[in-house]
Symmetry: C2
Subunit: 250 residues, 2 copies
Protein backbone atom coordinates (compact mmCIF):
# COMPACT_ATOMS: atom_id res chain seq x y z
CA UNK A 1 0.00 0.00 0.00
CA UNK A 2 1.03 3.63 -0.49
CA UNK A 3 1.97 5.92 2.41
CA UNK A 4 -0.68 6.04 5.14
CA UNK A 5 -3.07 8.98 4.69
CA UNK A 6 -2.89 11.91 7.09
CA UNK A 7 -6.63 12.31 7.65
CA UNK A 8 -8.18 10.36 10.50
CA UNK A 9 -11.22 9.45 8.39
CA UNK A 10 -9.08 8.14 5.53
CA UNK A 11 -7.04 6.13 8.04
CA UNK A 12 -10.18 4.57 9.49
CA UNK A 13 -11.41 3.64 6.03
CA UNK A 14 -8.04 2.14 5.24
CA UNK A 15 -8.47 -0.19 8.21
CA UNK A 16 -11.73 -1.44 6.65
CA UNK A 17 -10.02 -1.82 3.25
CA UNK A 18 -7.38 -4.01 4.85
CA UNK A 19 -9.90 -6.86 4.75
CA UNK A 20 -9.59 -8.73 1.46
CA UNK A 21 -12.27 -10.86 -0.21
CA UNK A 22 -11.19 -14.05 1.55
CA UNK A 23 -10.28 -12.68 4.98
CA UNK A 24 -12.24 -13.47 8.11
CA UNK A 25 -10.27 -12.38 11.18
CA UNK A 26 -7.32 -10.00 11.27
CA UNK A 27 -5.24 -9.27 14.36
CA UNK A 28 -4.19 -5.80 15.43
CA UNK A 29 -0.66 -6.61 14.25
CA UNK A 30 -1.94 -7.67 10.81
CA UNK A 31 -4.05 -4.53 10.53
CA UNK A 32 -1.05 -2.37 11.46
CA UNK A 33 1.13 -4.15 8.89
CA UNK A 34 -1.46 -3.93 6.13
CA UNK A 35 -2.36 -0.28 6.68
CA UNK A 36 1.15 0.95 7.43
CA UNK A 37 -0.22 2.67 10.54
CA UNK A 38 1.32 2.45 14.04
CA UNK A 39 -0.31 -0.09 16.34
CA UNK A 40 -1.64 2.46 18.89
CA UNK A 41 -3.30 4.38 16.04
CA UNK A 42 -4.90 1.22 14.68
CA UNK A 43 -6.05 0.33 18.17
CA UNK A 44 -7.85 3.66 18.52
CA UNK A 45 -9.42 3.51 15.06
CA UNK A 46 -10.57 -0.08 15.61
CA UNK A 47 -12.30 0.97 18.84
CA UNK A 48 -14.34 3.56 16.97
CA UNK A 49 -15.14 1.19 14.11
CA UNK A 50 -16.34 -1.43 16.61
CA UNK A 51 -18.67 0.99 18.36
CA UNK A 52 -20.07 1.99 14.95
CA UNK A 53 -20.61 -1.68 13.99
CA UNK A 54 -18.31 -1.78 10.96
CA UNK A 55 -15.94 -4.07 12.84
CA UNK A 56 -16.70 -6.82 15.36
CA UNK A 57 -14.35 -8.27 17.94
CA UNK A 58 -13.68 -11.99 17.59
CA UNK A 59 -11.55 -14.56 19.41
CA UNK A 60 -8.76 -14.10 16.86
CA UNK A 61 -8.94 -10.32 16.43
CA UNK A 62 -11.38 -8.33 14.36
CA UNK A 63 -13.74 -9.00 11.48
CA UNK A 64 -15.98 -6.84 9.30
CA UNK A 65 -19.32 -6.15 11.00
CA UNK A 66 -22.97 -6.32 10.08
CA UNK A 67 -23.36 -2.52 9.84
CA UNK A 68 -21.34 -2.65 6.61
CA UNK A 69 -23.59 -5.33 5.11
CA UNK A 70 -26.70 -3.33 5.99
CA UNK A 71 -25.24 -0.10 4.57
CA UNK A 72 -23.96 -1.89 1.47
CA UNK A 73 -27.46 -3.12 0.72
CA UNK A 74 -28.62 0.51 0.54
CA UNK A 75 -26.28 1.43 -2.32
CA UNK A 76 -28.70 2.64 -5.01
CA UNK A 77 -26.61 1.59 -8.00
CA UNK A 78 -27.09 -2.07 -7.10
CA UNK A 79 -30.31 -2.05 -5.07
CA UNK A 80 -32.90 -1.05 -7.67
CA UNK A 81 -31.23 -3.08 -10.37
CA UNK A 82 -30.96 -6.19 -8.24
CA UNK A 83 -34.53 -6.07 -7.00
CA UNK A 84 -35.87 -5.57 -10.52
CA UNK A 85 -33.66 -8.34 -11.91
CA UNK A 86 -34.32 -11.06 -9.34
CA UNK A 87 -37.49 -12.53 -10.90
CA UNK A 88 -35.76 -12.85 -14.28
CA UNK A 89 -32.69 -14.40 -12.72
CA UNK A 90 -34.92 -16.91 -10.91
CA UNK A 91 -36.70 -17.81 -14.14
CA UNK A 92 -33.36 -18.45 -15.87
CA UNK A 93 -32.16 -20.52 -12.93
CA UNK A 94 -35.28 -22.61 -12.89
CA UNK A 95 -35.05 -23.22 -16.65
CA UNK A 96 -31.35 -24.16 -16.62
CA UNK A 97 -30.16 -24.91 -13.04
CA UNK A 98 -26.85 -23.27 -13.96
CA UNK A 99 -25.09 -20.26 -12.34
CA UNK A 100 -26.99 -17.08 -13.17
CA UNK A 101 -25.27 -13.70 -12.69
CA UNK A 102 -26.23 -10.06 -12.71
CA UNK A 103 -23.13 -7.91 -13.31
CA UNK A 104 -22.03 -4.30 -13.84
CA UNK A 105 -18.85 -2.74 -15.23
CA UNK A 106 -16.61 -1.20 -12.55
CA UNK A 107 -13.17 0.27 -13.22
CA UNK A 108 -11.77 -2.43 -15.57
CA UNK A 109 -13.75 -5.30 -14.06
CA UNK A 110 -16.95 -7.25 -14.18
CA UNK A 111 -18.48 -6.77 -10.71
CA UNK A 112 -20.99 -9.43 -9.58
CA UNK A 113 -24.14 -7.88 -8.09
CA UNK A 114 -26.12 -11.08 -7.75
CA UNK A 115 -25.62 -14.79 -8.24
CA UNK A 116 -28.34 -17.40 -8.30
CA UNK A 117 -27.04 -20.92 -7.96
CA UNK A 118 -28.21 -24.27 -6.71
CA UNK A 119 -27.37 -27.81 -5.88
CA UNK A 120 -27.15 -28.87 -9.51
CA UNK A 121 -25.06 -25.87 -10.66
CA UNK A 122 -21.34 -26.33 -11.27
CA UNK A 123 -19.38 -24.63 -8.44
CA UNK A 124 -17.48 -21.68 -9.95
CA UNK A 125 -15.33 -18.85 -8.54
CA UNK A 126 -17.77 -15.93 -8.96
CA UNK A 127 -19.21 -14.44 -5.77
CA UNK A 128 -21.55 -11.55 -5.02
CA UNK A 129 -19.48 -8.40 -4.50
CA UNK A 130 -16.51 -10.07 -6.22
CA UNK A 131 -14.82 -9.15 -9.49
CA UNK A 132 -13.16 -10.64 -12.55
CA UNK A 133 -11.24 -8.72 -15.23
CA UNK A 134 -13.70 -7.61 -17.92
CA UNK A 135 -11.71 -8.90 -20.90
CA UNK A 136 -12.09 -12.54 -19.89
CA UNK A 137 -15.79 -12.72 -18.91
CA UNK A 138 -18.88 -12.95 -21.10
CA UNK A 139 -20.46 -9.95 -19.33
CA UNK A 140 -17.26 -7.95 -19.59
CA UNK A 141 -17.19 -8.45 -23.35
CA UNK A 142 -20.75 -7.12 -23.51
CA UNK A 143 -19.64 -3.97 -21.65
CA UNK A 144 -16.52 -3.54 -23.79
CA UNK A 145 -18.31 -4.15 -27.10
CA UNK A 146 -21.51 -2.18 -26.44
CA UNK A 147 -20.40 0.36 -23.82
CA UNK A 148 -18.48 3.63 -24.29
CA UNK A 149 -15.08 3.25 -26.09
CA UNK A 150 -13.37 4.57 -22.94
CA UNK A 151 -14.04 1.20 -21.26
CA UNK A 152 -11.95 -0.72 -23.79
CA UNK A 153 -9.17 1.89 -23.77
CA UNK A 154 -8.94 1.64 -19.99
CA UNK A 155 -8.85 -2.16 -20.04
CA UNK A 156 -6.19 -2.31 -22.77
CA UNK A 157 -4.08 0.36 -21.05
CA UNK A 158 -4.25 -1.67 -17.86
CA UNK A 159 -2.92 -4.77 -19.67
CA UNK A 160 -4.82 -7.97 -20.47
CA UNK A 161 -3.98 -10.28 -17.60
CA UNK A 162 -3.88 -14.03 -18.29
CA UNK A 163 -6.15 -16.12 -16.04
CA UNK A 164 -6.16 -19.37 -18.03
CA UNK A 165 -4.38 -20.68 -21.14
CA UNK A 166 -7.42 -19.52 -23.15
CA UNK A 167 -7.57 -15.90 -21.87
CA UNK A 168 -7.29 -13.43 -24.75
CA UNK A 169 -4.25 -11.31 -23.90
CA UNK A 170 -3.55 -9.62 -27.28
CA UNK A 171 -5.52 -6.37 -27.82
CA UNK A 172 -5.95 -7.14 -31.55
CA UNK A 173 -7.56 -10.52 -30.83
CA UNK A 174 -9.76 -8.99 -28.12
CA UNK A 175 -10.98 -6.37 -30.63
CA UNK A 176 -11.90 -9.16 -33.07
CA UNK A 177 -13.80 -10.98 -30.35
CA UNK A 178 -15.63 -7.75 -29.40
CA UNK A 179 -16.58 -7.16 -33.04
CA UNK A 180 -18.21 -10.59 -33.03
CA UNK A 181 -19.90 -9.75 -29.69
CA UNK A 182 -21.31 -6.55 -31.19
CA UNK A 183 -22.47 -8.47 -34.24
CA UNK A 184 -24.22 -11.26 -32.30
CA UNK A 185 -25.52 -9.04 -29.51
CA UNK A 186 -24.20 -11.33 -26.79
CA UNK A 187 -20.82 -12.12 -25.22
CA UNK A 188 -19.18 -15.51 -24.89
CA UNK A 189 -16.43 -16.75 -22.59
CA UNK A 190 -14.87 -20.12 -23.43
CA UNK A 191 -12.74 -21.08 -20.42
CA UNK A 192 -11.09 -17.65 -20.48
CA UNK A 193 -11.61 -16.84 -16.79
CA UNK A 194 -11.57 -20.33 -15.29
CA UNK A 195 -10.63 -23.65 -16.88
CA UNK A 196 -13.66 -25.84 -17.52
CA UNK A 197 -16.11 -22.93 -17.24
CA UNK A 198 -17.96 -21.24 -20.12
CA UNK A 199 -20.54 -18.45 -20.12
CA UNK A 200 -22.89 -16.43 -22.28
CA UNK A 201 -24.06 -12.87 -21.42
CA UNK A 202 -26.55 -10.34 -22.78
CA UNK A 203 -26.84 -6.56 -22.22
CA UNK A 204 -29.35 -4.86 -19.90
CA UNK A 205 -30.14 -1.31 -21.06
CA UNK A 206 -31.67 1.70 -19.36
CA UNK A 207 -34.35 3.93 -20.90
CA UNK A 208 -31.70 5.84 -22.90
CA UNK A 209 -30.50 2.50 -24.28
CA UNK A 210 -27.17 2.68 -22.42
CA UNK A 211 -25.82 -0.70 -21.34
CA UNK A 212 -25.89 -0.58 -17.54
CA UNK A 213 -25.63 -4.26 -16.62
CA UNK A 214 -25.47 -7.76 -18.01
CA UNK A 215 -27.10 -11.10 -17.28
CA UNK A 216 -25.06 -14.25 -17.77
CA UNK A 217 -25.30 -18.03 -17.52
CA UNK A 218 -22.10 -19.84 -16.55
CA UNK A 219 -21.33 -23.52 -16.15
CA UNK A 220 -19.47 -26.58 -17.30
CA UNK A 221 -17.66 -26.42 -20.67
CA UNK A 222 -18.73 -30.02 -21.22
CA UNK A 223 -22.42 -29.43 -20.59
CA UNK A 224 -23.38 -25.91 -21.69
CA UNK A 225 -24.48 -25.26 -25.26
CA UNK A 226 -23.93 -21.49 -25.34
CA UNK A 227 -25.61 -20.88 -28.70
CA UNK A 228 -28.68 -22.70 -27.48
CA UNK A 229 -28.75 -20.73 -24.18
CA UNK A 230 -28.14 -17.32 -25.80
CA UNK A 231 -31.81 -16.67 -26.68
CA UNK A 232 -32.86 -17.36 -23.07
CA UNK A 233 -30.28 -14.94 -21.65
CA UNK A 234 -31.17 -12.31 -24.22
CA UNK A 235 -34.87 -12.65 -23.50
CA UNK A 236 -34.30 -12.21 -19.75
CA UNK A 237 -32.05 -9.17 -20.36
CA UNK A 238 -34.58 -7.61 -22.74
CA UNK A 239 -37.45 -8.15 -20.31
CA UNK A 240 -35.45 -6.54 -17.51
CA UNK A 241 -34.51 -3.62 -19.80
CA UNK A 242 -38.19 -3.08 -20.55
CA UNK A 243 -39.01 -2.97 -16.82
CA UNK A 244 -36.16 -0.52 -16.14
CA UNK A 245 -37.30 1.75 -18.98
CA UNK A 246 -40.61 2.20 -17.15
CA UNK A 247 -39.01 3.11 -13.82
CA UNK A 248 -37.49 6.42 -12.75
CA UNK A 249 -33.74 6.30 -13.27
CA UNK A 250 -31.78 5.83 -10.04
CA UNK B 1 -29.64 12.26 16.41
CA UNK B 2 -27.53 12.88 19.48
CA UNK B 3 -24.77 15.52 19.62
CA UNK B 4 -22.29 15.22 16.78
CA UNK B 5 -19.25 13.17 17.78
CA UNK B 6 -15.90 14.90 18.24
CA UNK B 7 -13.77 12.35 16.38
CA UNK B 8 -13.29 12.90 12.65
CA UNK B 9 -13.74 9.20 11.93
CA UNK B 10 -17.02 9.01 13.87
CA UNK B 11 -18.22 12.12 12.04
CA UNK B 12 -17.44 10.57 8.67
CA UNK B 13 -19.29 7.40 9.63
CA UNK B 14 -22.23 9.48 10.77
CA UNK B 15 -22.45 10.94 7.25
CA UNK B 16 -22.81 7.39 5.89
CA UNK B 17 -25.42 6.57 8.53
CA UNK B 18 -27.46 9.59 7.41
CA UNK B 19 -28.68 7.48 4.48
CA UNK B 20 -31.82 5.58 5.46
CA UNK B 21 -33.18 2.40 3.87
CA UNK B 22 -35.24 4.26 1.27
CA UNK B 23 -32.90 7.18 0.49
CA UNK B 24 -31.22 7.60 -2.86
CA UNK B 25 -29.73 11.11 -3.13
CA UNK B 26 -29.07 13.51 -0.26
CA UNK B 27 -27.87 17.08 -0.71
CA UNK B 28 -25.11 18.68 1.32
CA UNK B 29 -27.77 20.65 3.21
CA UNK B 30 -29.71 17.46 4.03
CA UNK B 31 -26.53 15.74 5.19
CA UNK B 32 -25.67 18.71 7.42
CA UNK B 33 -29.18 18.72 8.89
CA UNK B 34 -29.25 14.97 9.51
CA UNK B 35 -25.78 14.72 11.04
CA UNK B 36 -25.93 17.95 13.03
CA UNK B 37 -22.54 18.91 11.57
CA UNK B 38 -21.68 22.29 10.02
CA UNK B 39 -21.87 22.39 6.22
CA UNK B 40 -18.14 23.05 5.65
CA UNK B 41 -17.31 20.02 7.82
CA UNK B 42 -19.75 17.82 5.89
CA UNK B 43 -18.28 19.12 2.63
CA UNK B 44 -14.78 18.05 3.67
CA UNK B 45 -15.91 14.62 4.96
CA UNK B 46 -17.96 14.00 1.82
CA UNK B 47 -14.89 14.72 -0.34
CA UNK B 48 -12.93 12.04 1.48
CA UNK B 49 -15.79 9.56 1.35
CA UNK B 50 -16.14 10.12 -2.41
CA UNK B 51 -12.46 9.50 -3.06
CA UNK B 52 -12.73 6.29 -1.01
CA UNK B 53 -15.79 5.15 -2.99
CA UNK B 54 -18.27 5.02 -0.09
CA UNK B 55 -20.15 7.98 -1.58
CA UNK B 56 -20.74 8.90 -5.22
CA UNK B 57 -21.62 12.33 -6.61
CA UNK B 58 -24.96 12.52 -8.41
CA UNK B 59 -26.95 15.25 -10.12
CA UNK B 60 -28.97 15.81 -6.96
CA UNK B 61 -26.18 15.52 -4.39
CA UNK B 62 -24.61 12.36 -3.02
CA UNK B 63 -25.53 8.70 -2.81
CA UNK B 64 -23.96 5.64 -1.18
CA UNK B 65 -21.21 4.17 -3.36
CA UNK B 66 -20.28 0.74 -4.65
CA UNK B 67 -17.28 0.39 -2.29
CA UNK B 68 -19.78 -0.10 0.56
CA UNK B 69 -21.62 -2.85 -1.30
CA UNK B 70 -18.36 -4.66 -2.05
CA UNK B 71 -17.15 -4.35 1.56
CA UNK B 72 -20.56 -5.36 2.91
CA UNK B 73 -20.42 -8.58 0.94
CA UNK B 74 -17.21 -9.50 2.79
CA UNK B 75 -18.84 -9.46 6.24
CA UNK B 76 -18.18 -13.01 7.49
CA UNK B 77 -21.28 -13.32 9.65
CA UNK B 78 -23.49 -13.21 6.55
CA UNK B 79 -21.17 -14.42 3.79
CA UNK B 80 -20.53 -18.02 4.78
CA UNK B 81 -24.09 -18.52 5.95
CA UNK B 82 -25.60 -17.04 2.78
CA UNK B 83 -23.42 -19.02 0.43
CA UNK B 84 -24.14 -22.27 2.27
CA UNK B 85 -27.87 -21.52 2.40
CA UNK B 86 -28.47 -20.47 -1.19
CA UNK B 87 -29.01 -23.96 -2.69
CA UNK B 88 -31.60 -24.78 -0.01
CA UNK B 89 -33.36 -21.45 -0.48
CA UNK B 90 -33.47 -22.10 -4.23
CA UNK B 91 -34.96 -25.55 -3.69
CA UNK B 92 -37.68 -24.10 -1.45
CA UNK B 93 -38.40 -21.36 -3.98
CA UNK B 94 -38.66 -23.83 -6.81
CA UNK B 95 -41.01 -26.03 -4.80
CA UNK B 96 -43.30 -23.19 -3.67
CA UNK B 97 -42.67 -20.03 -5.76
CA UNK B 98 -43.23 -18.02 -2.58
CA UNK B 99 -40.89 -15.52 -0.83
CA UNK B 100 -38.02 -17.41 0.79
CA UNK B 101 -35.90 -15.68 3.46
CA UNK B 102 -32.70 -16.33 5.32
CA UNK B 103 -32.62 -14.25 8.52
CA UNK B 104 -30.56 -13.63 11.65
CA UNK B 105 -31.34 -12.00 14.99
CA UNK B 106 -29.81 -8.53 15.41
CA UNK B 107 -30.45 -6.25 18.39
CA UNK B 108 -34.24 -6.74 18.75
CA UNK B 109 -34.90 -7.39 15.06
CA UNK B 110 -35.11 -10.00 12.39
CA UNK B 111 -32.45 -8.97 9.86
CA UNK B 112 -32.92 -10.27 6.31
CA UNK B 113 -29.69 -11.72 4.89
CA UNK B 114 -31.17 -13.13 1.70
CA UNK B 115 -34.48 -13.18 -0.11
CA UNK B 116 -35.38 -15.40 -3.03
CA UNK B 117 -38.47 -14.27 -4.85
CA UNK B 118 -39.95 -14.46 -8.30
CA UNK B 119 -42.66 -13.42 -10.65
CA UNK B 120 -45.30 -15.59 -8.99
CA UNK B 121 -44.41 -14.61 -5.41
CA UNK B 122 -46.60 -12.13 -3.57
CA UNK B 123 -44.77 -8.77 -3.28
CA UNK B 124 -44.01 -8.16 0.41
CA UNK B 125 -42.05 -5.52 2.35
CA UNK B 126 -38.99 -7.57 3.32
CA UNK B 127 -35.71 -6.62 1.65
CA UNK B 128 -32.13 -7.87 1.91
CA UNK B 129 -30.31 -5.84 4.57
CA UNK B 130 -33.67 -4.69 5.96
CA UNK B 131 -35.23 -5.43 9.34
CA UNK B 132 -38.54 -6.14 11.06
CA UNK B 133 -39.15 -6.28 14.82
CA UNK B 134 -38.55 -9.86 15.99
CA UNK B 135 -41.80 -10.25 17.94
CA UNK B 136 -43.97 -10.03 14.81
CA UNK B 137 -42.09 -12.26 12.36
CA UNK B 138 -42.02 -16.05 12.10
CA UNK B 139 -38.20 -16.04 12.15
CA UNK B 140 -38.13 -13.68 15.11
CA UNK B 141 -40.33 -16.03 17.12
CA UNK B 142 -37.88 -18.83 16.38
CA UNK B 143 -35.03 -16.70 17.76
CA UNK B 144 -37.04 -15.64 20.81
CA UNK B 145 -38.33 -19.14 21.60
CA UNK B 146 -35.15 -21.13 20.93
CA UNK B 147 -32.40 -18.55 21.47
CA UNK B 148 -30.90 -17.28 24.74
CA UNK B 149 -33.48 -15.80 27.20
CA UNK B 150 -31.68 -12.43 26.94
CA UNK B 151 -33.20 -11.99 23.46
CA UNK B 152 -36.76 -12.01 24.76
CA UNK B 153 -35.89 -9.80 27.72
CA UNK B 154 -34.39 -7.21 25.36
CA UNK B 155 -37.39 -7.30 23.03
CA UNK B 156 -39.92 -6.95 25.86
CA UNK B 157 -37.91 -4.17 27.51
CA UNK B 158 -37.88 -2.33 24.18
CA UNK B 159 -41.69 -2.53 23.94
CA UNK B 160 -43.76 -4.61 21.51
CA UNK B 161 -44.52 -2.20 18.69
CA UNK B 162 -47.77 -2.69 16.78
CA UNK B 163 -47.38 -3.07 13.01
CA UNK B 164 -50.85 -4.45 12.17
CA UNK B 165 -54.10 -5.08 14.08
CA UNK B 166 -52.86 -8.68 14.59
CA UNK B 167 -49.42 -7.86 16.04
CA UNK B 168 -48.98 -9.41 19.48
CA UNK B 169 -48.22 -6.44 21.77
CA UNK B 170 -48.80 -8.02 25.19
CA UNK B 171 -45.73 -9.76 26.69
CA UNK B 172 -47.93 -12.48 28.23
CA UNK B 173 -49.52 -13.37 24.91
CA UNK B 174 -46.14 -13.31 23.20
CA UNK B 175 -44.80 -15.76 25.81
CA UNK B 176 -47.72 -18.12 25.09
CA UNK B 177 -47.03 -17.92 21.37
CA UNK B 178 -43.34 -18.61 21.99
CA UNK B 179 -44.21 -21.64 24.12
CA UNK B 180 -46.17 -23.01 21.15
CA UNK B 181 -43.23 -22.18 18.88
CA UNK B 182 -40.88 -24.12 21.14
CA UNK B 183 -43.31 -27.01 21.22
CA UNK B 184 -43.84 -27.21 17.46
CA UNK B 185 -40.22 -26.38 16.54
CA UNK B 186 -41.27 -23.72 14.05
CA UNK B 187 -42.52 -20.14 14.19
CA UNK B 188 -45.68 -18.75 12.64
CA UNK B 189 -46.70 -15.21 11.75
CA UNK B 190 -50.35 -14.63 10.87
CA UNK B 191 -50.56 -11.10 9.42
CA UNK B 192 -48.61 -9.79 12.43
CA UNK B 193 -46.02 -7.81 10.44
CA UNK B 194 -48.01 -6.92 7.31
CA UNK B 195 -51.72 -7.31 6.65
CA UNK B 196 -52.44 -10.13 4.20
CA UNK B 197 -49.04 -11.76 4.71
CA UNK B 198 -48.34 -14.96 6.67
CA UNK B 199 -45.09 -16.86 7.20
CA UNK B 200 -43.58 -19.99 8.70
CA UNK B 201 -39.93 -20.25 9.86
CA UNK B 202 -37.58 -22.96 11.13
CA UNK B 203 -34.27 -22.73 13.05
CA UNK B 204 -30.80 -23.15 11.53
CA UNK B 205 -28.29 -24.39 14.10
CA UNK B 206 -24.50 -24.42 14.26
CA UNK B 207 -22.39 -27.40 15.33
CA UNK B 208 -22.97 -26.56 19.00
CA UNK B 209 -26.71 -26.59 18.32
CA UNK B 210 -27.08 -22.84 18.87
CA UNK B 211 -29.75 -21.22 16.72
CA UNK B 212 -27.81 -18.86 14.44
CA UNK B 213 -30.33 -18.18 11.67
CA UNK B 214 -33.78 -19.04 10.37
CA UNK B 215 -35.31 -19.93 7.03
CA UNK B 216 -38.84 -18.76 6.31
CA UNK B 217 -41.54 -18.89 3.63
CA UNK B 218 -43.82 -15.86 3.41
CA UNK B 219 -46.78 -15.11 1.19
CA UNK B 220 -50.47 -14.50 0.86
CA UNK B 221 -52.72 -15.23 3.85
CA UNK B 222 -55.32 -16.53 1.41
CA UNK B 223 -53.01 -18.94 -0.35
CA UNK B 224 -50.43 -20.28 2.09
CA UNK B 225 -51.15 -23.38 4.15
CA UNK B 226 -48.53 -22.88 6.87
CA UNK B 227 -48.95 -26.30 8.49
CA UNK B 228 -48.47 -27.96 5.11
CA UNK B 229 -45.35 -25.88 4.34
CA UNK B 230 -43.76 -26.32 7.79
CA UNK B 231 -42.12 -29.69 7.01
CA UNK B 232 -40.50 -28.24 3.86
CA UNK B 233 -39.03 -25.27 5.76
CA UNK B 234 -37.85 -27.51 8.57
CA UNK B 235 -36.20 -29.92 6.15
CA UNK B 236 -34.34 -27.10 4.41
CA UNK B 237 -33.23 -25.64 7.78
CA UNK B 238 -32.10 -29.07 9.04
CA UNK B 239 -30.15 -29.75 5.83
CA UNK B 240 -28.41 -26.39 6.10
CA UNK B 241 -27.64 -27.03 9.80
CA UNK B 242 -26.03 -30.34 8.84
CA UNK B 243 -23.83 -28.61 6.24
CA UNK B 244 -22.82 -25.91 8.74
CA UNK B 245 -21.93 -28.53 11.36
CA UNK B 246 -19.33 -29.93 8.97
CA UNK B 247 -17.69 -26.57 8.26
CA UNK B 248 -15.23 -24.63 10.42
CA UNK B 249 -17.14 -22.08 12.49
CA UNK B 250 -16.86 -18.53 11.13
Amino acid sequence: MSDPPKSVLARGLRVLDAFGPADVDLTLAQLAARTGLPKPTVHRLVGELVSWGGLERSDEGYRLGMALFVLGQRVPRQRGLREAALPYLEDLYEATHENIHLTVFDSTDTLFLEKVTGRRSMPIVSRVGGRLPAHCTASGKVFLALGPPAYLRRVVRDGLRRLTPKTIVLPGLLRQDLARTLDRGYGINREESETGVVAVAAPVRDRRSNVIAAISIAGSAHRLDLERLAPAVRTAALSLSRVLAREPAN
